[in-house]
């Protein structure tokens, strides 16, 4: 869906994006993670033809950007750095204007599109107040509605849950999941690790303009070959497993073992009481910390 190669953007002497090779595949829920100022937004703007690259290539939906961006954009919905609305107009009028600015459809089509988009983001009962009277969360939803106006094949969302309360975040996540299930590819950026971890199937990590990591979440979180178990019989387990226990923290033990199920059977067979037993996976936090050699402390949420 999106391929970039050697993509670089310089503003004067500062390089905002450096040799990025982004790859988003069809059906992905791609999470672009990085601290503020790491180049996420500039990268997203380049994908949408808003900012022009200094070097490199971009292909979105199989077409080169920005050369054929006008064929690409009708199939893309996007939210870039917060919603932009005409504050003196009501939300529905804003959507009408944005929809009318783009190509396609008669009057009835357009009205239906706007209604559907509002409904999807939970703003069906929107009133006639001007947008400037909206809460941040409502504006964010309105921005999402604008992105959803023409049932896009690709959604590019920059910090989509900004300003939403936990319930709102949950609703948006459910909405995105549903859209993804229906076949929409989603690229979302966030500086919140938990958000990416909760939603995405694929992760890219940006740091100081570089894409320092890009992989499926499942691959990143592959088992570490250790099992963590919680047992009141810790001393017995240590004796039983004979040197395979790597660490002990009260009732918690970390055991080097490839198969948690076999270990479980073995321990239960030996009469050990087990409260909890699970194969250890690396946390995304760890992955990110390892990938971002510099200024990783700026990744908010890395230390929950």
């Amino acid at each position: 869906m999106i391929i970039t190669r050697d993509l670089t953007k310089r503003y004067g002497h500062t390089t905002a994006v450096r040799e990025v090779g982004l790859e988003v595949r069809e059906g992905d829920r791609y999470g672009l993670l990085g601290p503020n100022g790491s180049g996420k937004t500039t990268l997203i703007r380049m994908l949408l033809g808003l900012v022009f690259a200094t070097r490199g290539e971009i292909e979105v939906l199989g077409l080169p950007v920005p050369r054929r961006v006008r064929e690409v954009l009708p199939q893309v919905g996007a939210l870039v750095e917060g919603p932009g609305m005409y504050p003196h107009l009501p939300g529905r009028t804003n959507l009408n204007l944005f929809d009318a600015a783009g190509p396609g459809g008669g009057r009835r089509d357009r009205r239906r599109r706007v209604d559907q988009a509002l409904e999807r983001v939970g703003l069906a009962g929107i009133d006639r107040r001007p947008v400037r009277a909206y809460s941040l969360g409502m504006r964010q939803r309105l921005g999402l509605a604008a992105a959803l106006l023409r049932t896009p094949r690709l959604l590019i969302l920059d910090e989509p849950t900004n300003g939403l309360d936990p319930r709102g975040i949950r609703e948006i996540r459910d909405l995105l999941t549903e859209l993804n299930r229906e076949g929409t590819t989603v690229l979302l950026s966030s500086h919140l690790l938990t958000e990416i971890e909760a939603f995405c199937s694929r992760v890219g990590v940006m740091d100081s303009g570089r894409l320092v990591l890009q992989d499926d979440l499942a691959a990143l979180r592959a088992p570490t070959g250790r099992v963590v178990l919680h047992t009141p019989d810790a001393d017995r387990v240590i004796a039983l497993l004979d040197g395979r226990v790597e660490a002990r923290d009260g009732d918690r033990l970390t055991v080097r073992h490839q198969a948690p199920d076999d270990l479980n059977a073995e321990l239960v067979g030996a009469g050990v009481r087990i409260v909890e037993l699970a194969g250890e996976r690396r946390s995304l936090e760890q992955v990110v910390l390892e990938a971002t050699t510099t200024s990783s402390d700026r990744v908010e949420g890395a230390t929950p």
């Binding site: 033809g49 808003l50 900012v51 932009g84 609305m85 600015a101």
Partner: protein
């Protein structure tokens, strides 16, 4: 896209505020003139002001002369300066562009909506000042009892028929609209350069003030024919008999040159401008 721009123009309260301000100036002047009946000395003050005391039907022309030098260009500069920069700082520009709206189309739509604004503003000034003129400076009922304004005298002393007055006022509206194209183009160009609507408007106004000063400066006679404000008052020549077309033609041509060059510059700049706000 033009429809969208027009909807934005006419759904925005400030459009009406500006038009009201434009209408207010001639009205205030008319009230003072009508109460004191002290005409400005000939050749000073606004054009036609001394003539309106005897004939209110000419007040629209006097109103044009009042709003044209400062108030109208300032409004156009403010709106045109806001056209792109305002959308950029409000964050709506990026959403229009990814709709997608072609950048050229956006510029053209902005310009068209500015032209419509000027037409709308002048038309309101025309109507309100005509009513003001009839109300405050009088009209006499003719033999059949129908109230008609007195005959209007051209600058050359020849009487202008009502039909003649109508086409001259319409031509004036057209010419003033064309005159504003230059300002609009300057401000629109600056609006694509900076993200500050105020900066763009100020830049355009600065250009106009420089031009206005140079027009009156004999030492700058060599560049005078190329100054954007040089022929602004040429519409007064519509009220000479016969009509003096020379300055009107040159003024219109000059504005078109400014429009082509600056709109071209705006286009060249905007097409590959990074939208980062």
């Amino acid at each position: 896209m033009i429809g969208v721009e027009l909807a934005k123009l006419f759904r925005r309260p400030r459009t009406y505020v500006i038009a009201a301000l434009l209408c207010a100036l001639p009205f205030i002047v008319a009230v003072f003139l009508a109460t004191t009946r002290i005409p400005p000395p000939p050749g000073q003050g606004g054009a036609f002001l001394s003539a309106v005391l005897s004939n209110g039907a000419l007040y629209p022309a006097a109103a044009m002369a009042l709003v044209l030098p400062v108030l109208l260009p300032v409004s156009v500069a403010v709106l045109a300066g806001d056209a792109v920069a305002g959308e950029a700082s409000a964050g709506t520009l990026r959403y229009l562009l990814i709709r997608p709206v072609g950048r050229t189309r956006l510029l053209v739509a902005k310009l068209v909506s500015l032209v419509v604004f000027v037409l709308f503003a002048i038309a309101t000034v025309l109507v309100t000042s005509y009513l003001t003129g009839l109300l405050l400076f009088g009209a006499e009922p003719d033999s059949t009892g129908v109230t008609l304004p007195a005959d209007v005298t051209s600058l050359s002393g020849v009487t202008i028929t009502p039909a003649g007055l109508a086409w001259r006022l319409l031509a004036t509206v057209a010419y003033i609209t064309v005159s504003m194209l230059g300002v609009a183009a300057i401000a629109l160009f600056l609006s694509t350069v900076t993200d500050s609507a105020l900066g763009a408007a100020m830049g355009a106004l600065a250009a106009l003030v420089v031009s206005q000063v140079l027009v009156t400066l004999d030492a700058a006679a060599a560049v005078r024919p190329y100054l954007p404000t040089r022929y602004w008052l040429a519409w007064i020549d519509f009220f000479r008999e016969p009509v003096l077309w020379r300055d009107i033609e040159r003024g219109a041509a000059l504005q078109l040159v400014y429009l082509v060059v600056l709109l071209g510059a705006a286009w060249a700049n905007f097409m590959t401008k990074d939208v980062t706000n």
